[in-house]
């Protein structure tokens, strides 16, 4: 396959072949008689020009306004092979089955089922639910639409290695891969003026999601929402600073009657008061942002939140009543895959009934409600939210002679068994797809879909156990799903290994044989043996956002084409032998 030149890498090579900027400027300063401590006037002019050259190289790949970021973090290590980690996306891909890879149940046995799905002229072999339907919001006419509608604007990337096997570190480093640099959301808001994002960055009040945020220039995480499904209103919490009482509005109104005189005086006072330090302008712009929001009427925020919450909860509930399995899982009692170490032996006869009409994903309705409100109202450019496991399930299992009714399954599915997790995870994946699709429509309504990137990611996906009893951490197999109007065609990028732990030299790992997504080598950064890591992960998302990367030495695997939008830099993801 022909290697695609990377624009930043190629440009960097051009400059490296000429002369290093700093050395060049210092030598020029010396020539001008200014000494080594400073630059001469001529050198300063050159500095500007050279800086301009670098800026334009940068601008070739980052050519417009930074995009909004809506980041949905699936807490706990979501089994991504049900949604955005396709294990054999191309016809004829190598594949080795492992029981806990299964996403379907056929003839009494768990299997991994794909279906060819075509969108925008591209056919991919994806987890079979992509060929099914997802519910549409009642406000848009209700009913169901093909899930491939979402695929058109979706890119999936896989095969990234986490540096550690840790929920905590993994969840932090997908958002902030370098401790010496800002987080991705921090890099984003560092690039923008406060007036364009009055609430610079918002994060869900998850202990880990909150810890990921770091910005070093204008702002940092300044508003949060509480863990809630319906008992707190995160929108009201975040908008609270801009809630003005009647007395305050009365004074503001009086002032506004003399706004020309006030602004004239304010400018003059600010001119006298400003410090020599740079940055005073950003203080004044924060004033205008605050005053504007005091006056902006969003209506009753309780009604606003309840309406959005009900919309997304309704979508998830609707996901529960659709067929998402190609056949019934019944009778379970005779299946060798009915048990999990944690659950015990499942007693529920037809596992399709695990998912109930009120089933939903923990905190997901709040997360999407908050994201839609903040981004569609241009209140924030970076919203990081999180969702947990599946709630509202109902099934029974017997362990050590004790029968227990279970109502939820977490994403961290050690010992949960393939029987219970197949219907639950398919339901989860459809919920993510349905909510993401609805938010994409909401963004289209206000013409922000092209300028927003919705990212779905997790600590890591799962490595399966061959006896079907559960799954472990696949920290060498991370990935993400991006959905944006800037993506015009679907794609799956990133090479994975066919059967990572097939070697009999390590018997302890043999239960994890099979194709489950461990990252393989790539023809990238001038080498055919490059493994992708979270540096590449971050750089790729930053490319999608039109911002510099916090890990610039790990090059993006996607590019922002002026004509084609966001497209892969690497070829279609392959499955390699190792």
């Amino acid at each position: 396959m022909k290697k695609i030149p990377h624009p930043i890498l190629e440009s960097r090579k051009v400059l490296e072949k000429t002369l290093h900027r700093r050395k060049f400027l210092k030598s020029f300063a010396g020539w001008g008689g200014a000494g080594m401590m400073g630059y001469s006037a001529a050198a300063s002019a050159l500095h500007m020009m050279v800086h301009g050259a670098f800026s334009k190289i940068y601008a070739n790949s980052i050519s417009s306004e930074p995009r909004n970021l809506f980041e949905l973090y699936l807490q706990g290590g979501f089994p991504a092979q049900f949604l955005y980690l396709p294990l054999r996306p191309n016809a004829g891909d190598l594949y080795v089955h492992n029981t806990n890879n299964s996403n379907n149940w056929v003839s009494g046995a768990p299997v991994y089922t794909t279906a060819p799905v075509t969108a925008a002229g591209v056919t991919l072999h994806l987890p079979f639910i992509w060929a099914q339907t997802i519910p549409r919001a009642a406000s848009r006419g209700g009913g169901f639409v093909p899930m491939s509608n979402l695929l058109t604007n979706t890119m999936m990337a896989r095969g990234f290695w986490n540096p550690f096997d840790s929920h905590e570190i993994g969840s932090i480093q997908i958002s902030r891969p370098s401790v010496t640099a800002p987080s991705i959301a921090g890099m984003l808001i560092d690039q923008i003026d406060g007036s364009r994002s009055p609430i610079p960055a918002v994060a869900g009040e998850h202990d880990l999601a909150g810890a990921t945020f770091y910005s070093r220039t204008k702002a940092r995480k300044v508003a949060r929402y509480r863990r809630s499904d319906n008992f707190l209103n995160p929108i009201a919490t975040i908008m609270d600073p801009f809630r003005a009482n009647a007395g305050m509005l009365g004074l503001l109104d009086k002032k506004d009657q003399f706004s020309a005189l006030f602004n004239d005086a304010l400018s003059a006072v600010a001119q006298d008061a400003r410090r020599l330090d740079p940055g005073s302008e950003s203080i004044l712009s924060s004033l205008s942002g605050a005053e504007a929001l005091f006056r902006r009427n969003f209506g009753n925020l309780t009604d606003v939140y309840n309406s959005l919450y009900a919309k997304y909860m309704g979508l998830m509930n609707a996901c529960s009543v659709q067929a998402y399995l190609s056949s019934a899982i019944s009778p379970i009692a005779s299946s060798p895959y009915r048990s999990g170490e944690t659950l015990g032996v499942i007693a529920t006869t037809d596992l399709r009934t695990i998912v109930q009409p009120n089933s939903h994903i923990g905190y997901m309705a709040s997360a999407f409600a908050l994201g839609e409100f903040l981004i569609t109202n241009n209140l924030s450019k970076a919203v990081t939210v999180y969702a947990e496991g599946t709630n509202g399930l109902q099934f029974t299992a017997v362990r050590d002679g004790v029968t227990t009714i279970h109502q939820g399954i977490p994403n961290d599915q050690h010992g949960y068994g393939v029987a219970a997790t197949i219907p639950s995870n398919n339901f989860y994946a459809r919920c993510v797809a349905a909510c993401t699709y609805e938010m994409s429509l909401a963004l289209k309504d206000v013409n922000l879909f092209d300028s927003t990137v919705m990212k779905v990611g997790s600590d890591f996906p799962r490595s399966p156990s061959n006896d079907g009893s559960g799954s472990d951490h696949a920290w060498s197999a991370n990935g993400f799903m991006l959905t944006s109007g800037a993506i015009k065609k679907p794609s799956v990028i990133g090479n994975i290994a066919r059967s990572p732990y097939a070697a009999p030299s390590n018997p302890a790992l043999r239960s994890y044989i099979g194709t489950w997504g461990e990252g393989s080598t790539h023809n990238h950064e001038g080498s055919n043996g490059t493994y992708l890591n979270l540096g590449h992960y971050a750089s790729s998302i930053c490319t999608a956002l039109n911002i510099p990367s916090p890990t610039p030495n790990f090059l993006s695997i996607i590019q922002d084409s002026p004509t084609e939008g966001l497209v892969p830099l690497l070829g279609p993801g392959q499955t390699r032998n190792t």
Partner: protein, 249 residues
């Protein structure tokens, strides 16, 4: 000498290359070209990153203290306890407990006084809320501005507004120099001299220019003509505090 000449030639050659390179770049965003991107690590030479602007703002204790000095009377001044409590509560709720937006993380004293939110445990408050969310350096944001403005406007429009204004006037008026002697019935709009005192109460050590005093005076007089002396004094303090630059260290 030869090496110097070679160096000059090399420099000029590179200069030409860079001019060509500049001219060849297309599809350049004017915004980005004008504002070079910040880098997160050392440049190719291993030197320092590109300079970035980091505004250093005062933390919540500084802001609360400044507002208290201007607007918060004491019992010794002759203010009533409910008025003092009202004004103190406004400063606390808008400034002192806003560690996430106004800066300064929470210590154990804060945990039981200003940072204990929603019945959270001290451990949760200190580790998760404060040390995770509070900025190491406070930055200008619309939320920070909103909290500050809301504190000022609320104090000057609440049931304790007269107490707050009386205190502020006593610090800047030429004739009514104590809390007790401030008389709203005989109050006149601020003079130029009094406006300068308001300015210097907010910006100690800075002398306002004639231009800013004249323009401030024009605004204050317009308010006074429509709403009287009392509101003109309120607007004088609102004007000076609205720049928010007094929070820059």
């Amino acid at each position: 000498m030869t090496s110097k000449i070679l160096q000059i030639c090399k420099t000029l050659f590179v200069l030409q290359l860079l001019v060509v390179l500049n001219a060849c770049q297309t599809n350049v965003s004017s915004d980005i070209a004008a504002t070079p991107p910040s880098t997160s690590g050392p440049d190719e030479s291993g030197g320092d990153p590109e300079p970035i602007t980091i505004v250093r703002l005062a933390d919540r204790y500084y802001v609360a203290s400044a507002l208290s000095q201007i607007f918060l009377p004491s019992l010794a001044d002759g203010a009533s306890a409910p008025d003092i409590e009202n004004l103190q509560s406004t400063i606390d709720s808008n400034i002192k407990i806003q560690y996430g937006d106004m800066g300064s993380s929470c210590d154990y004293f804060d945990t039981t006084n200003y940072c204990g939110v929603g019945g959270q445990s001290p451990l949760f408050t200190i580790i998760e809320s404060a040390n995770v969310s509070a900025p190491a350096l406070s930055q200008p944001t619309s939320l920070r501005a909103a909290y500050t403005l809301r504190a000022v406007y609320t104090m000057l429009s609440s049931s304790a507004a007269d107490a707050a204004l009386r205190k502020a006037i006593s610090l800047t008026s030429s004739s009514m120099t104590t809390y007790a002697t401030v008389n709203f019935a005989t109050l006149n709009p601020p003079t130029l001299t009094e406006l300068q005192r308001v300015f210097q109460l907010v910006y100690p050590g800075v002398t306002p220019s004639a231009s800013s005093l004249t323009k401030s005076y024009a605004f204050i007089n317009a308010v006074a003509a429509s709403y009287g002396a009392k509101d003109s004094w309120k607007m004088a303090f609102i004007l000076m505090l609205s720049t928010l630059l007094w929070q820059q260290l």
